[in-house]
């Protein structure tokens, strides 16, 4: 159920004049049919979440096409014009460049970057916010950017790192496929961070855009000798605090 300013919304409220994409429609249908109450203070707050979720999906498709390479943290590389590579394999924004340009460069010159799936997820979230905010606002809100995994993360995006069981899973969520019996020589296959794209599809960096069973099959190929557990989609998701991000506008 969705409530906006205390009023319950129905599907019909979105049917006339609503120009949402299929992603937004999927989100609305899931929220409305949910047993859980999703409350928004205003229509704008709901619209912001729908728009940002849509842009997370769009940015995932775009990153998949960018030429960004997969590399383990030990072997990551980045365009040194915009980023410093940190000792632990993450990327830290250079002080003399605009954050928006640095994020866009990952998308425009993907071949100059190689990194693990978690870093790619963070790039997706930043690019989606750049699409939603104006460039000026983006640069004001995120003057320093660190891309690694969930451990050096902007306070506005830290909730992406918290994995929690959810009543409903939505496009734009960060999900995780776990591979408990991974081959010890390839720990990078211990799991795959993905973005839920809706329609049963997921984007994982290095693995591409696939359905859950295909990702699980790939992970299962990378299990250890004598493995007795299969890979699986974990029943939890990380998602940004959309309301807080809306307030930053």
């Amino acid at each position: 159920m969705i409530t906006v300013a205390g009023r319950e919304m129905r599907v019909s409220d979105f049917s006339t004049g609503f120009r949402g994409s299929s992603v937004e429609k999927e989100i609305i249908n899931t929220l409305i049919s949910s047993g859980r109450q999703y409350s928004y203070d205003s229509a704008e707050q709901l619209e912001f979440e729908l728009k940002l979720r849509r842009e997370i999906v769009v940015s995932s498709y775009d990153l998949n096409k960018s030429g960004l390479r997969f590399e383990v943290f030990r072997k990551t590389f980045c365009n040194p014009f915009y980023w410093n590579r940190t000792q632990d394999g993450g990327f830290s924004l250079k002080s003399n460049v605009r954050p928006s340009d640095a994020i866009l460069d990952i998308y425009r010159n993907g071949q100059k970057y190689g990194t693990e799936c978690a870093t790619a997820m963070m790039a997706v979230y930043y690019k989606a916010l750049l699409n939603v905010y104006s460039e000026k606002l983006f640069n004001k809100v995120f003057p320093r950017i660190e891309l690694m995994n969930w451990h050096r993360i902007d306070r506005l995006l830290k909730d992406v790192g918290y994995m929690q069981r959810r009543d409903d899973y939505l496009p734009g969520d960060r999900r995780y496929f776990s591979n408990p019996d991974v081959n010890p020589l390839t720990p990078e296959w211990q799991g795959e961070n993905v973005i839920d794209l809706g329609g049963g599809l997921y984007y994982g960096h290095g693995i591409g855009i696939r359905r859950a069973d295909s990702i699980i099959a790939e992970l299962n190929q990378n299990r250890s000798r004598n493995a007795d557990e299969y890979a699986r989609l974990v029943d939890s998701a990380g998602r940004p605090d959309f309301k807080r991000l809306a307030l930053a506008r």
Binding site: Y162, M163, L185, P187, N222, R225
Partner: protein
């Protein structure tokens, strides 16, 4: 670092005092004129893995590979397997075959003598991590655990990548790992304490500033561990998964039933039989706080008076809670 010149392998001594480049050129010079001496040096039991590692190209160049001892041949093979190209796509056949001679001993040599040179370069560090992972996952070798934990904290202090080696640590599913990590709650280094707190999933606001605070928290944790040891299982969560992974947890069902989690290899919560399910069906409906309280009472009673526990466990849950709160040790009131 000072070395006893008379006891250290010559190549080892040269690398440590004059650097890798000098060590390589010296080894080449010896191999060109005194092949047997070069082989004796590289096959020497006192050689550390780091020195062997930096001489791999020279060993190949001088066609010495086939004349290495078993340890050397196996180490070369392990390096080839680990450092082979694995960018992007999965390598289905990437395995350190158990058929390779003395693989376990060689992995122990690689890791045990290699950690003192951790940070040599990314390839070297990767070999250390992978060697530890294979020892723990494929060979169930827990003896490396203290060194694995030491490595995690050393890398963290230096701001280096430690998430894979932390993952390896919890793959042991050995409660001793928690005990070793708890020791770092007493560290004078705030980075150690913060990481120990994170790995042990302790609240961020627990005070660890003074020596007394640290000692108290450490002892509290060890006491908690003593009580819960048999009921701890490892969740499989990692730093790849979350910024606050819960790496292990207490299985309250197991604690309530006094069933050891080792039955499930500490891989997951215990699997209950139908009979056990029905026996504790009321327990399932309790709040987490009530479950924790009752599980604690059950475990204590089981330890102190097993025959009384046998009766108590069949009481209705509300009566168990009542006796638990009275502290009557399970005696019907």
């Amino acid at each position: 670092m000072n070395f006893d010149r008379t006891r250290v392998n010559d190549l080892e001594y040269i690398r440590r005092t004059r650097g890798a480049k000098n060590c390589r050129s010296t080894f080449l010079r010896i191999a060109e004129t005194q092949r047997q001496k070069a082989l004796a040096l590289i096959n020497d039991s006192g050689l550390m893995f780091a020195t062997f590692f930096i001489l791999r190209d020279e060993i190949i160049k001088m066609n010495l590979r086939e004349e290495l001892n078993d340890r050397g041949k196996t180490a070369m093979e392990i390096c080839d397997i680990i450092l082979g190209d694995k960018s992007g796509l999965p390598s289905y056949d990437r395995r350190i075959d158990e058929e390779i001679g003395n693989v376990r001993e060689t992995l122990l040599w690689i890791f045990g003598t290699g950690i003192r040179d951790d940070g040599l370069n990314e390839d070297f560090d990767q070999i250390l991590d992978n060697a530890a992972a294979v020892l723990i996952k494929d060979h169930c070798e827990s003896s490396v655990l203290p060194d694995v934990i030491k490595l995690i904290f050393e890398r963290n202090r230096k701001g280096r990548y430690f998430h894979d080696i932390a993952w390896v640590c919890f793959q042991t599913r050995d409660v001793n790992a928690l005990r070793f990590i708890a020791g770092y709650l007493r560290s004078g280094n705030p980075k150690d304490r913060a990481l120990a707190r994170s790995l042990l999933n302790l609240p961020e606001d627990i005070p660890l500033r003074t020596v007394q605070d640290r000692e108290r928290r450490y002892l509290e944790y060890i006491e908690w561990l003593r009580e819960n040891d048999p009921y701890i299982y490892f969740t499989g969560e990692s730093f790849q998964f979350s910024n606050s992974p819960i790496l292990c947890s207490v299985d309250l069902n197991a604690k309530y039933l006094c069933k050891d989690c080792a039955e499930c290899m500490r891989k997951r919560p215990i699997e209950l039989t139908e009979e056990e399910r029905s026996k504790i069906s009321e327990f399932f409906s309790l709040t987490d706080e009530e479950k924790a309280e009752l599980a604690r009472t059950s475990q204590k009673l089981y330890k102190e008076n097993p025959s009384l526990w046998e009766q108590w466990i069949h009481y209705p849950v509300d009566e168990q809670i009542y006796t638990s709160r009275l502290g009557s040790g399970g005696e019907r009131v």
